[in-house]
Amino acid sequence: MADTNQNSLAVANGALDVQGEDSAGNVEYLQFVTFTIGSEEYGVDIMSVREIKGWSETTMLPNTPEYMRGVLNLRGLIVPIFDLRCRFGGGFTEVTNLHVVIIITVGERFVGILVDAVSDILTIEADEVRGVPKMERRVDNEFLSGLVTVEERMVALLDAAKLFNSKDIDQGQEAGKALQ
């Protein structure tokens, strides 16, 4: 727990420093940790990232959606892990030791997302973020806060709050108690 906080502090400070410079220059920078699922690249706000760790065995939670990959012990915290590929309709991830779990905070909660690999830390100017076209037929559309093009690659920015706030995360249970 303490370690987690320290890690997060370090990350957060890093982000703050960058943003501190910006406010002087009046340009707002954003930082994302980017990762891949198959050929898709996604980014998640660096401020919410607490830890990145290799896949380890989880304990399944009965009667939960298939993308809920069970819980693991993060230094005494019980953290649920979500299979992002599966969540986006790309099928169940066959995990290997190379798969990665990104622990992020959503509201007060700690949540892990299972991804294929972490690729980079991305610093962009706020106005580089493009909206998500309504037309595009992506399952993940509603969980994205925007799109960014980086060296010809497109990175889809995750809106973690939305992702873990959606009602179907706790299908068959009280939806009202959804994550923050």
Binding site: T59, L61, G76, L77, P80, F92, Q173, K177, L179
Partner: protein, 805 residues
């Protein structure tokens, strides 16, 4: 004016309210015992009740809870008369005191909520209290009224004004004659400090008269021989001046008068003519005198080598608080003695540091003769001797923030897990190492366990605090319902985790309400069936089987089974013509949507049924059951874990998954014979154990686990006890062993999972789920809806297996 800008009263409020609750609960307990035998009232009880109310009042005043203070004052006054024997202690009076206690409780609650109560909520009781009080001591009453006013005054925004009497802008010169009795010094009062305080009021000229000073041999070191005349120029009033002397008013002769034109000059002249020699001088009138001046003008005086005369104080600043410069330019006069100055200067330094910002110190330089009497010295010398006495404070208890204890509990929990992990990992070591390590691990395990127990013990609290709230509830309700009920409690000192204690209040309240409302008959009804007119409710607590057992038993009419069943059928909770045993009928009161009250009364309350009580208790890992004998009474039994932080569990395996079943729920585990297992027509299976058919819960089925044994005769059945007293058999593959596990909430980061109460971390670092046996049972039978849900989830999982498997 405060240099304590961050002094915020709010920080003390939590303590205050907590304290109030404790105090009033204790007062109530004592009142209850008084009520039993008012004629043999223990003085200590009356004193304690008085002190409780007194403390509530004292604290309330600090927070400006005027209404509360006002009432507490009236209540306290009567208690005071009673403890002094001026008012009789009768049952009626005690009843009134109990009501007063309740009212005070309500006022505290209101204050806590930041509200005032409408006057009718307390005024009647206040009037009754006052009536009794005035009967007891008429003259006291008036005095008390004065007190009351005074208290209100002091709660004003700036009570300091009361002390200093506020500045009114018009300056006057006051002549203050101060002649202390010889014993003034006896209780640590000191003229030096009084003079200093006077000086803060304005500009001061001081004459000291040493004529009473005896010969050295007759000198008593703690007597005082001087008297003073001060001339004070100030815009403060006479009251402010007199208040300076408030602590010594009985130890001196004090006159404060407005100085007449020329008084000062006349005195100076009277003395001045003979003032040419340093030291004390006999004047014509036979008085000797000295004069002490502003220390700030000391430099000047020193440069003048001795003493001088004030011109007058005509040109002293209008501002009572003079700047240093002002003072230095001001001329002082007085008598000066270099030698004495040295003696006194250390004390002077201390004081000028202390209040250097605003006050101007009058530094009376004590004449040589007076040196011996300097109270500072008189005080310090004897005090120094026993100072080596260790001074180790013996404090028998401390209050600790619950957060801190929780952190400790968590850390010890982690330690327990780490220790289990180490032990497990060491089992893979070569035998020669393992042997060596074994003793160490055994010790570690023992110490960890002890540490854990000790830490848990910190959080343990007697249930008294909750039990103590119940008499009041019973009193209020019985009054409302017109029933006569005695509450008898036992086992109040039974300890349980603080969080559990807090969570007890609601269910207890609810069940007592239930008993009084439904269980207990009216006086007439009771007499008709030959019972005593007063009903009794027993509330008891005890430790049993590592849990706390709480019983609430009444001697009322028992559960009206006919009506309960009728109601249940009417509400569609039970099919018509369904055969139920009496116990099963009693159980119906816990069903959701059930309420036997013809209508929701304001006693049994806001539509919250016993089902909610059961659910809440069950959420705590507890169970509640009811037993009833028609015409004799009803008994509720609550059984709760002693702590919510750890539990003793049986670790079981189903395929690769591990689950912890709370040991307290487990009756036994069996490996049934094939012929004991019967399939039901409605689906599902039961096992026949010692004359009872017990429903089997296949964990792999309910939880959708692949690769588990399907055949219960090859698997194990863990028989568990359910909330209502029934049993269920949980089918698992294997039992791995008993273990104390640290309870981790799943809901911190996820959502409730049906059939699972919490999680824990096993020795291998992996998470294991702790089963909620009642939840599991609910998932598999009775509630069709949840069964369907499970089914659909299972379908979904099957689908996903096909898709990705």
């Amino acid at each position: 004016m405060s240099d304590l800008g961050d002094f915020n009263l709010d920080q003390f409020k939590a303590t205050y309210f907590e304290e109030c609750n404790e105090l009033l609960a204790d007062a109530e307990t004592r009142l209850m015992s008084l009520q039993q035998s008012p004629e043999s009232a223990e003085p200590e009880d009356l004193h304690a009740i008085f002190r409780a109310v007194h403390s509530v009042k004292g604290g309330g005043g600090a927070f400006n809870f005027d209404q509360l203070v006002h009432f507490a004052h009236i209540y306290e006054a009567l208690l005071d008369s009673m403890r002094e024997g001026k008012a009789a202690v009768t049952e009626e009076v005690v009843d009134l005191l109990l009501s007063a206690n309740d009212v005070l409780n309500n006022l505290i609650q209101a204050a806590q909520d930041g509200e005032d109560l409408p006057e009718e909520a307390w005024a009647d009781v206040a009037v009754e209290l006052e009536a009794l009080q005035s009967g007891a001591a008429v003259e006291d009453d008036e005095e008390n009224d004065e007190n009351d006013d005074e208290i209100v005054d002091l709660t004003g925004d700036d009570p300091a004004d009361v002390l200093t009497d506020g500045g009114n802008g018009t300056e006057k010169i006051w002549k203050i004659e101060f002649s202390p009795e010889p014993h003034l010094l006896q209780y640590a009062n000191e003229p030096l400090l009084l003079i200093r305080e006077l000086k803060t009021l304005g500009s001061l000229n001081t004459f000291i008269f040493t004529d009473k000073l005896p010969m050295f041999g007759d000198l008593k070191h703690d007597d005082i021989y001087f008297s003073w005349i001060f001339f004070l120029r100030t815009d403060k009033g006479q009251q402010a001046i007199e208040e300076v002397f408030e602590f010594v008013e009985f130890d001196c002769t004090l006159t404060v008068t407005e100085a007449h034109e020329g008084d000062f000059e006349r005195l100076v002249e009277a003395l001045g003519g003979t003032a040419s020699n340093a030291g004390s001088i006999e004047a014509d009138e036979g008085v000797s005198w000295g004069l002490f001046v502003d220390e700030k003008s000391k430099d000047e005086i020193e440069s003048a080598q001795g003493w001088g005369l004030f011109d007058d104080d005509e040109d002293t600043s209008d501002d009572p608080v003079k700047s240093k410069d002002d003072i230095e330019t001001e001329q002082g006069w007085g008598l000066f003695d270099d030698e004495v100055e040295k003696e006194v200067s250390p004390a002077e330094d201390t004081t000028s540091n202390k209040s250097s910002t605003k006050t101007v110190e009058t530094k009376p330089t004590v004449p040589a003769k007076a040196k011996l009497t300097t109270p500072t010295e008189a005080k310090k010398a004897p005090a120094a001797k026993p100072a080596s006495g260790g001074g180790a404070a013996k404090i028998s208890s401390i209050r600790v923030d619950l957060d801190r204890v929780d952190r400790l509990v968590n850390m010890v929990g982690e330690l327990v897990i780490t220790q289990a992990m180490l032990q497990q990992q060491s089992s893979g070591m070569p035998i020669e190492y393992a042997q060596m390590m074994k003793q160490g691990f055994d010790d570690l395990a023992m110490h960890t366990r002890e540490l854990q127990d000790s830490v848990m013990a910190i959080r343990m609290q007697p249930v008294k605090s909750v039990f103590a709230r119940m008499p009041r509830l019973v009193r209020e309700l019985s009054g409302k319902l017109g029933k006569k009920v005695d509450l008898v409690t036992s086992g109040e000192n039974t300890e349980v985790d603080k969080t559990v204690v807090e969570l007890l209040a609601d269910p207890l309240t609810h069940m007592i309400r239930n008993s009084l409302d439904h269980g207990i008959e009216t006086e007439d009804e009771r007499l008709e069936v030959g019972k005593t007119p007063r009903a009794t409710v027993h509330l008891s607590a005890e430790h049993r089987g590592g849990r706390i057992q709480i019983d609430i038993a009444d001697d009322g009419r028992g559960i009206n089974r006919e009506r309960v069943l009728g109601k249940a059928i009417e509400k569609g909770l039970v099919p018509e013509n369904h055969q139920l045993s009496p116990e099963e009928v009693d159980e119906l009161i816990f069903m959701p949507g059930f309420s036997t009250a013809e209508e929701v009364t304001d006693v049994s309350g806001r539509g919250v049924g016993m089902d909610v009580v059961r659910r809440n208790i069950s959420n705590l890992g507890g169970r509640i059951s009811v037993s009833s004998v028609p015409g004799k009474g009803t008994k509720f039994n609550m059984s709760l874990p002693l702590t919510l932080a750890v539990l003793d569990g049986m670790v079981t395996a189903v395929a690769d998954e591990k689950y912890v079943i709370p040991l307290t729920a487990i009756v036994e585990s069996i490996r049934p014979e094939k012929e004991d297992i019967h399939r039901l027509a409605t689906g599902g299976e039961v096992v026949f154990v010692r004359g009872e058919y017990i429903r089997l819960i296949y964990l792999h089925d309910v939880f959708g686990i692949k690769g588990a044994s399907e055949d219960p005769s090859k698997a194990l059945v863990v028989l568990v006890e359910l909330d209502g007293g029934g049993h269920a058999g949980i089918v698992v593959d294997d039992l791995l062993g008993q273990q104390q596990v640290v309870i981790k909430s799943l809901e911190d980061n996820y959502d409730p999972v049906p059939g699972v109460s919490a999680a824990t971390i096993l020795g291998n670092g992996l998470v294991a789920l702790i089963l909620d046996v009642d939840g599991l049972t609910e998932m598999t039978h009775g509630r069709g809806a949840s069964r369907r849900n499970v089914q659909s989830e299972k379908d979904l999982l099957v689908q996903s297996e096909q898709k990705y498997g």
